[in-house]
Every structure is written in structure tokens, then in C-alpha cells.
Amino acid sequence: MEKEEKLNDSESAKMERRQFLRLGLYSAAGVLCGSFFAFGKGDKDIVVDNYEDLLKYDWGFIVDTTRCIGCGACVRACKVENNVPESYFRTWVERYEIDSKGEIRVDSPKGAIESFQSDNFDSNDIVKAFFVPKLCNHCYDSACTQVCPVGASYESPDGVVLIDKERCVGCGYCVQACPYGCRYIDEEKGIADKCTLCYHRIHKGEAPACVNACPRNARIFGNLKDPNSKIRKILNQRRYGLLKAELGTNPKCYYIGLDKEVK
């Protein structure tokens, strides 16, 4: 009798363990699927059928410099997603290191595509260090679209600065005019190129590749026209800075925790 009870006990324990594992597996799958829907997408329900639909959006970008760890995942993701030519960058990460004497060193080896392999300073008296991801600011009053002689550079109705690859003559005037060094001439194609905010992705409701790749949510992307969007809420709560605001380009890439040394 006792033996039978023992047997039943061990069997029920087995069952419990099995049930527990099964439950664990299901919940893990559930969390995975849930997170896929929760984080994998940007603003939901994006339907663009006509021109008027585009006017509902004004795409903006936040870079939270306090969160960036300089891993370079964004740079790699961008390179792959957009087939960016070697030695040119649509996005890159800069590293700033300030030592106790106030001396500052800045670097971005290969745009930080391989992250940061070595230290800038030999000594260990760095008092402040931080990373700053950079990308096209998609300015409201962009100097690059102003100077394009053929109208190939333009601002889309939903607020993204783009290049018409069929029209660009490759004169390089826009490269000179951009104060942020975000443009380059694709020598193979003979035209100017730059960050498109992954225009091909954002209209499918997906986030730009760099935003998707960032493990620290240092890059936030969204619709500035939607008062309930994540980006709007953050901008309402946090203090932010703009790059070279004095030039009047009115950039749309907002930097949280921007240091005065960043230009």
C-alpha cells in the first residue's frame, strides 16, 4: 500500500514537472510573440493609399545619448539594410572622452561599424565619456534640398529628406551644404546618397533598421504629428538639444543628453 502511494506521488511529481515545463515553454513563446508585436513594429496601422494619407505623418527621430553603449549594431544594420558603399556612412557613432585636464578626444573608427576596439587615451584618468550616434537630421529647413540645382533632393510630404535617384546629377553641392556630414557621393552610381530613415520599411509599419538593431533603445523613431506617439511623449517629458541649431536648418533629430562638445 505504501509502495503504491509512493509510486503515485512520484508520478504526480513527474506530471507537475511536465506541466510546469509545458507552461514555461508556452509562456516563453507567448512573451516572444508578444514582444515581437510590441517592439518589432513602430507606429501601428500605417495605411498609405494616397497623398493625403502621407500628410498624417511627420517622421522624427530621438537619439538618447545617455543610453548608447557604442556597440555599433545600428551602423552594421544600416550598412546591410541599405547596401551602403564601403567607407561611406548613413549613420555612425562617435565616442567622446574627456580626461581630468579637460582634454577631449573624439573618434569614430570606420563609423564604429566594428564598435570601438581601442581606447583613445593611454592614461586612465578619463572623467567623462559618452557615445553619440549620428544620422541625417531630416531638417525642416534643410540646406541640402535648398541647394540641389535639379530638385533631386526633396522633402517628402511625411517629412523625410530623400533623393530622387533618377534625377540626381551627382554635382556634390548638397554634400557641401549639409552641415552634419551626412551625405556622400556614391561613386559607383554617380549620385548623392544619404539616410532615408529606411523609407521602404517605415511605410510597412516597421522601424528603421538602426532603431530595430539598437539593444538599448537609444534610438527612438515615430510620428511627430501624433500626440500619443512614443516620440511625442518623450519630447514632452525630456530635455533635448539640436545639432548646430544656430545654422537655422531646424533639424528633426532630437538629442537627449547632448553635451556641448558635440557638433
Binding site: S108, V147, P149, V169, Q176, A177, R183
Partner: protein, 389 residues
């Protein structure tokens, strides 16, 4: 290719976007505008002393103008789309007017050359045979009879075209300066003075190229030069080079005196990357020496042979000075990083598409063309030379 940089530059700035081709373009248009303005001094303002060089100035202007767009086309990433600049111009861009201004100016110069040489073309048509006769017939546009009335009309039109051409020449070249000066992102370029500096340096290069070639051709043909004309040109060159150099130095001085953030990096640029090409060569050697030489030739009377040689040497040196100025502006401005923390490096390759050999060819072709033009439109009137003899 390994790109070298000092300090920190944005990753996309390792490559220079505007190469030596963009150095050549303002250099060539500068000579165009300068030479045209010199020819207009005679035609419009009636400076008779310049008569012996007026036609040469005008045809030189045409020869350079015809090749002004070559470096630009060679530089464009998609040259096949070059006409887009006139087909789909974006008028908020300073560059969009280029096609129209260039074409308009070309039209003025071609018309003026034609009216200036109309009678000579008719004479040539009457005295030539075979294919050349047909060629000259095309050039006469079917009008093979000369008349005093027509001559009077031609003269009026030439004065109108030359007068109208002065502002257009200034616009064509001043606007290249504006194109650079209006780029707020560039620390070295961004100044409203830029287009004025460009116009004056254009006149310097125009006067220089005319003096240089005028003396060279006459020396080659063993013909005496028109001394009055040369003296006047030398004095003007002296005056205009003073204005051009002073303007440029005042510009740097005002940036230095304002002592804003940009001076910290521009000081390093002048003291580092541009030390040789700007401070030593452009200012030190190729501005100071011609200035001193021209001071002597303009203020003192002495043996004309030595004097003429000194003027000739100054004009040659000033031609190099203007080329250096274009280099220091166009390339110098791109060497400074927009991060204000470092400099990049540039030197054109020898055999590259936009390299040194191509550059030399592009500079040489207008001169070769000018030599050919001399056969169709003789620059220097023979009787004028004989009279001096």
C-alpha cells in the same frame, strides 16, 4: 585607398567631394570674365590705348568660355544628366541659374565676336577658295556685301553687347564666388565677401593672361609691342591685384579679429594644411613679388625691355597666384572638418579621371583653341604693328 586625417573628421568627410576640377572651373571662368571686361574697356569706355588688345581679349574670352564647362562635366557623377540643370531647375538653389547664365553669356560673346569680325570675314570670303570659301560663307551668314551703314550699325551693337556683357560677366563669375560664399556649413567659404573677391581675382587673371600671351606672341613673332597699351595694362594689373589681395587678407583678418569659434580651427588650417600653398606661395611669393615688380614698373621710368619683362613675369606669377587662390579656397575649405575638430587630406592622383594630367589637358586646350582661332580671326592688326615700326 587609405585616407589620412588629423584629429576627428566625420566619417563621410574623409573623401573630398569637390576635386581639382572645381578648382579649374572658377579659374577658367575667371579668365573669361576678366578678358571680357578688358575688351569692354575699349569698346564701351572708348579706351583707345587698349585697341591693340581688345580683339584678342574678346576672342580669348570665347576660347576659355567654350571650355569652361569641361571640368564641370568631368566632375559630375552623372554627366549624361547635365541638362537637368536647365530642364528641371530648382530655383532655390544658387547653382540652378548656372545653365542659363552661362548660355546667355556665351550668346553675348559669340555675337560680339561675330560683329567685331564681320568685315574681316567678308574680306576672307572674297579672297579665299575651295572649302575655306564655303566655311567663310557660313560665317558671313550669307551677307557678303560691306556698307558704311552696316558698319555703323555693327559698331552700335558691339557697344551694346560689350556694355551688356560686363554685368553678365560679373554675374557669371561673381556667382561662382557666391556659390561658395553662401554655404553656411563650410567654415572657410562662408562669407558674403566671397563673390567680390572672386570678381576681382577674375579681373586679375584676365589681365594677366592677356598680358602674358600678348607679350609672348609678339616675342615669338619678333614684332614690337604696343608700349602704351602694355603700360596701361600693367598699371591696371597692379591696381586690381592690390584690391584682390587686400580683400582676401582683410577677410581673414576680420575672421581672426572677431575671434569666434571658427577662428580656432581656421587658424590651424592656415597654420597647417595651407601653410605652404596659402601663406608661403599664394601670399608670400606669388602676391608680394608681382606687387613689388609692378610697383616699380608703374611708378618709375626705365629701359622698356626690362620693364616689359618685369610686367610679363608679374603677369605669369599672378596667373599662378590666382590658380593657387582657387585651390586654397576650393580645396582648403573642404580640408576642414565640419566637426571643427580635424582635417582631411587631399592630393589629386596623376592618372585619375579627375587627376593632374587631365587637369593640365583641360587648361591647355583653350590655349590650343586660341591658336587656331587666330587663323580664322586674326587678333593683332598687321597695319597697327607696322605703324609702330
Amino acid at each position: 585607398m587609405e585616407h589620412i586625417a588629423e584629429g576627428f573628421v566625420f566619417p563621410n568627410e574623409l573623401h573630398i567631394t569637390w576635386t581639382v576640377m572645381i578648382v579649374l572651373y572658377p579659374y577658367i571662368t575667371g579668365m573669361v570674365a576678366g578678358a571680357f571686361i578688358v575688351s569692354s574697356f575699349y569698346h564701351v569706355f572708348g579706351m583707345e590705348k587698349l585697341k591693340s588688345i581688345a580683339k584678342f581679349a574678346l576672342v580669348s574670352s570665347l576660347a576659355f568660355l567654350l571650355f569652361a564647362t569641361v571640368p564641370l562635366l568631368n566632375h559630375l557623377g552623372s554627366p549624361m544628366r547635365a541638362m537637368n540643370i536647365m530642364l528641371t531647375p530648382n530655383f532655390s538653389s544658387a547653382m540652378s541659374g548656372f545653365g542659363f547664365v552661362y548660355t546667355f553669356y556665351l550668346l553675348i560673346v559669340v555675337l560680339e565676336v561675330w560683329f567685331c569680325y564681320r568685315e574681316e570675314i567678308i574680306d576672307k570670303y572674297n579672297s579665299s577658295r575651295g572649302i575655306m570659301k564655303k566655311l567663310y560663307y557660313i560665317l558671313t551668314m550669307g551677307v557678303t556685301v560691306k556698307s558704311d551703314k552696316a558698319k555703323e550699325f555693327d559698331k552700335k551693337l558691339i557697344i551694346f553687347l560689350a556694355g551688356f556683357g560686363i554685368p553678365v560677366a560679373c554675374i557669371l563669375h561673381g556667382y561662382v564666388g557666391f556659390l561658395f560664399g553662401s554655404i553656411k556649413a563650410n567654415l572657410w567659404w562662408s562669407t558674403p565677401l566671397m563673390f567680390i573677391i572672386f570678381i576681382f581675382s577674375a579681373i586679375v587673371s584676365g589681365l594677366s593672361v592677356l598680358i602674358f600671351l600678348y607679350q609672348f606672341v609678339h616675342w615669338l613673332r619678333k614684332k614690337p609691342v604696343d608700349q602704351e597699351c602694355l603700360n596701361l595694362m600693367g598699371k591696371w594689373l597692379w591696381g586690381f591685384m592690390i584690391i584682390a589681395v587686400v580683400l582676401e587678407l582683410m577677410e581673414v583678418l576680420s575672421i581672426a579679429y572677431e575671434n569666434t569659434e571658427r577662428w580656432t580651427i581656421l587658424r590651424e588650417l592656415i597654420d597647417g594644411k595651407l601653410l605652404v600653398s596659402y601663406v608661403y606661395l599664394q601670399i608670400g611669393v606669388f602676391s608680394v613679388i608681382p606687387f613689388l615688380l609692378l610697383c616699380v614698373t608703374s611708378l618709375f621710368k626705365f629701359d622698356t625691355r626690362i620693364k616689359n619683362f618685369m610686367i610679363w613675369l608679374s603677369s605669369g606669377m599672378l596667373l599662378i597666384q590666382v590658380l593657387l587662390m582657387r585651390w586654397n579656397v576650393v580645396i582648403g575649405g573642404q580640408l576642414v572638418s565640419k566637426s571643427m575638430r580635424g582635417f582631411t587630406e587631399y592630393f589629386p592622383g596623376l592618372f585619375d579621371k579627375e587627376g593632374l594630367i587631365v587637369s593640365v589637358l583641360i587648361i591647355a586646350i583653350p590655349f590650343i583653341l586660341l591658336r587656331q582661332f587666330d587663323k580664322i580671326f586674326p587678333f593683332f592688326e598687321k597695319h597697327g604693328l607696322l605703324k609702330k615700326n
